[in-house]
Every structure is written in C-alpha cells, then in structure tokens.
Symmetry: C2
Subunit: 280 residues, 2 copies
C-alpha cells in the first residue's frame, strides 16, 4: 500500500466531479487537487500551450509526492496525456479513455453521442478513442458551450438548462445514438436534466465515475490502495481562490478547504523551470 496522495488536476473547478467520485469510491485515499485557475480555460488554447501547461501542473503534483496523476480535464487528456505518460515517473490516467471504454461496451447499435466543450469536440479526441477501441462505431459529437456556465451558476436543473439540453441533444437523438458520453467534467451536474430530456433508452456515460473506477483498478493492481479509513485532501489554485471555493463547493457538495494559492510559470518559454521554485 502507499499513503502518498492521488494527484488530480484540471484547469478549474470541473475536475472536482472526478475528485468527488474518487472520494466516494476510495474514501481512504489522500487527495491533492490542483485547479489551474490563472490559466483557465484550457479548451480555447492551442495544443502546444495545453501540453506545456499540463506538464507544469503535473510536475507540481509530482513535487507533492503523489503516487498517481489524474488528468481531470478533457482538453489536457486529449492533448497531453501521452506526453505526461512519457515524462512522469508515476502512472497517469486521463478522463477520455475510461468514458470511451465504457461507451463501446454499452452501445447496442454502435452509434455513440459525445457532448463536450467547443475545444474537446474540435479536438476529435473522443471519436479517435472510440474508434481505436471499436473501428465500426459511429460517433456524433455536439459542443455545448452553455453547460459549463449553467453548472457553475447552480442552474443545472433549471428550465434554462432543460431548454439548452433540448437544443443541444436534438441532433444526437435524431442521429439515433443509443449511448451518450458526458465529455466534460462539468456535465455530471447536468445528469438529471439530460436524463429528463433524452429518451430513456439512451444510456449515459459519466466520465468522472469511469475514471474513478480505472484509478481503483490501477491502485489495486499495483498494491497501492491506502487502507486508512478517511483520507484527507488539499486544494491548490493558481489564482485568487474566492471563486474556486464558492463554485467548487457546489460541485463537491461540501466546503473546498484547505485551499492554497500557488504560482505556475505562465510563459511557455518558462516551462523548464521547476514549479516548486515558483511557489508564492
């Protein structure tokens, strides 16, 4: 077993849904969460920029002696997972493969829908992951830019969310999907609304849940599960924590604390610098 923490990072609060699932499934694990709030969102940035930011974030977690890094961000999973797996000395798990894996096992007719941010949908990450697992699968993707602010606003179950969901999901239903992947870490909050709008025959895949299951399996295989009763957690952010704490508590269902602000080198040319050297 290992008492070292599981390190989790995202560009902001979204990854807290993954942290929530990890806590639920693995209550004995210590957790370290980094929200790179000074540079949020990753989704609008270029792949090179995202790779540099993700590497800096992961290196910060490594400096906290984590036993594993979870990339709880679809954009970073899409662009940086391979790089992190090559560069880091601990296992690295992203959020895309676990959801894709579940989707190909669930789909009856081989027509899978994917919803995500503009960046995730344009990255083509899910179609690639799904087709790598099952080449015949047909994938229909729709970007849903309103879902993130709806979740952050606490309006995930408001009539506005229902109307937006109807708009976004209509082409997916028309395309005959039988499985829908929630390809953004914010979207688990919208599950009740999505279920209400979708025909009951369409199955939802929650990437946060699937990712937690993959982490559990990996720690079990490596003999690194933490046997203690109640793990602790620590939050880090790269900008003023006020908003992160306020919105994040809605995501976690409990207070986001303790939280500490750190600095990461924001300039791509600084990416070789040790993040520990820049703590403020």
């Amino acid at each position: 077993m290992s008492e070292n923490a599981i390190g989790v990072f995202d560009s902001g609060v979204g990854g807290l849904t993954v942290l929530h699932e990890l806590r639920r499934l693995l209550p004995g694990e210590n957790l370290v969460y980094l929200g790179d709030t000074a540079r949020v969102p990753y989704g609008t940035k270029s792949p090179e920029t995202v790779r540099k930011y993700a590497l800096q974030a992961a290196e910060f977690l490594i400096a906290q002696r984590v036993k594993m890094v979870v990339v709880a961000c679809n954009t970073a999973s899409s662009f940086a997972l391979q790089l992190l797996q090559q560069q880091l000395s601990v296992p690295v798990v992203g959020v895309i493969a676990p959801g894709a894996d579940r989707a190909v096992r669930l789909t009856a007719h081989g027509v899978v829908g994917v919803i995500g941010t503009d960046g995730t949908v344009h990255s083509d990450a899910y179609p690639r992951a799904l087709k790598a697992l099952q080449p015949q699968v047909s994938v229909v993707s729709v970007a849903c830019p309103l879902f993130v602010p709806l979740a952050e606003e606490g309006w995930a179950e408001h009539e506005i969310a229902r109307l937006a969901a109807e708009e976004y999901l209509a082409p997916l239903v028309a395309a005959g999907i039988d499985t829908l992947v929630l390809g953004c870490t914010h979207y688990p909050l919208l599950k009740p609304t999505l279920k209400a709008v979708l025909p009951p025959s369409i199955k939802l895949v929650d990437s946060a849940e699937e990712t937690a299951l993959v982490v559990q399996q990996l720690l079990t295989d490596r003999g690194e599960l933490n046997a203690q009763q109640n793990g602790c957690w620590q939050f880090y952010v790269t900008d003023v924590p006020t908003r992160f704490v306020r919105v994040g508590s809605g995501f976690l269902g409990q207070p986001v604390e303790p939280v500490e602000r750190i600095s990461l080198p924001a300039c791509p040319t600084c990416s070789q610098e040790s993040p520990q050297g820049r703590l403020s």
Copy 2:
C-alpha cells in the same frame, strides 16, 4: 489629422462590439484590434495579472504606432486603465467611464442597474465610477455569467436568452432601477432580448456606443481625426485564430480579416520583455 490607427484590445471577441461602433461612427479611421485569446478570460484573474497582461497588450498596440489605445474590456478597464494612462505616450480610453457618465446623466431617480461578468461585478468598478460622478446615486449590480456564451453561441435572441434575462434582471427591476448599464462588451448583442424583458421605462446604456463617442470627441479635440473615406483594419490574436474568426464574424456582422497570430509573454515575470521581440 493623423493617419495612425486607433488601437483596441480585449481578452477575446467581446471588444469587437466596440470596434463595430468605432467603425460605424468613424468610418475613416484605421483600426488595429488585439484579442488576447491565449489568456482569455481576464475576468477570473487577479488584478496584478490583469494589469501585466493589459500592459503587454497595450505595448503591442503602441509598437503598431497607434494614436490612441481603447481598452475594450471591462476587467482591464477596471484594473489597468490608470496604469496604462500613466505608462503610455498616447491617450487611453476605457469602457467603464463612458457608460457611467451616460448613466448618471440619464437616471431620473438615481437608481442605476449594472450587469456584467462575475469579475466586473466583483471588481466594484461601476459603483465606484458612478458614485465618483454622482455620490447620491444608488447602484444595484448583477453578474450574468450566461450572457457571454449565449452571445458567442449566436443565441442572443433565443428563448433561452429571454429566460436567463428574466432571471438575472428580476432583482434589478424589483430594486427600482430606471437605467441599466450593459457592463460587458458582449452584451450589446443581447439588447433586443433585454429590451423585451425590461419595462419600457428603463433606459439601456450601451458602453460600446458611449466609448465610441468619447473616442470621437477626443480625436476631434486633438485634431487627429482621419479624413479619409474608408479606413482599413487589422486583427491580431495571441492563440489559434479559428474560433475568434468564427465567433467574431457574428459580432462584427462581417468577416474578421485579415487576422494574424502573435505571441505575448504570458509569464508575469516576463512583463518587462518587449512584446515585439516575441512575435511569432
């Protein structure tokens, strides 16, 4: 007169509403627009970070030999205007003072509403600007995080926008405002929806329009108006331009071109570097 361009910057596409008004009011002016898309949004960042970013953006425009800088971003206007006015050799106009100035002249009962992003509302910039002009004025502010994605999605006049506007504006109407300042450069796209939701007695102040009027007056006073018939424009962005071009054309009502990608030093510690030296 001066044939030098007017420089305009924002963290993203929002400032294009200001550019649109400048073009409408001053068709002979050459315009240079910088969208700092690699670092969007400014609204979630700390005041120090915003000041550094704004200074870098303004310095890039100065290097393009602009005769004036328009800070077409509420966050940067709130945190960085004074600094830019001290540091730059050309006049600098923000978007907050023009809107505040119009509002205190329009309000009959001295109760002014302000809507903006989370960052703008929490910065308290409008209440400060309004009270500086008229200490007795009462200000009621509401953050409307859904309005930016609604505008960018092309849904500014959709039923979803109407419902969101009803939610956001209800407390302002209940508070008895007679004037409403659109404190975000994205919001002019929502004017038809806001007008439909608000009682007709409430007057709307469009900061983009007011800012263009202030620029016109300033250039007139300085004898720097460009007498040519049709000015040209040039767009710069700090990340891949695809999304900026697509969403921006909806804001401008015409194609966003020519557009060129540049690099600005993203690291606060690099802020002394000349941005020209980092063009890519």
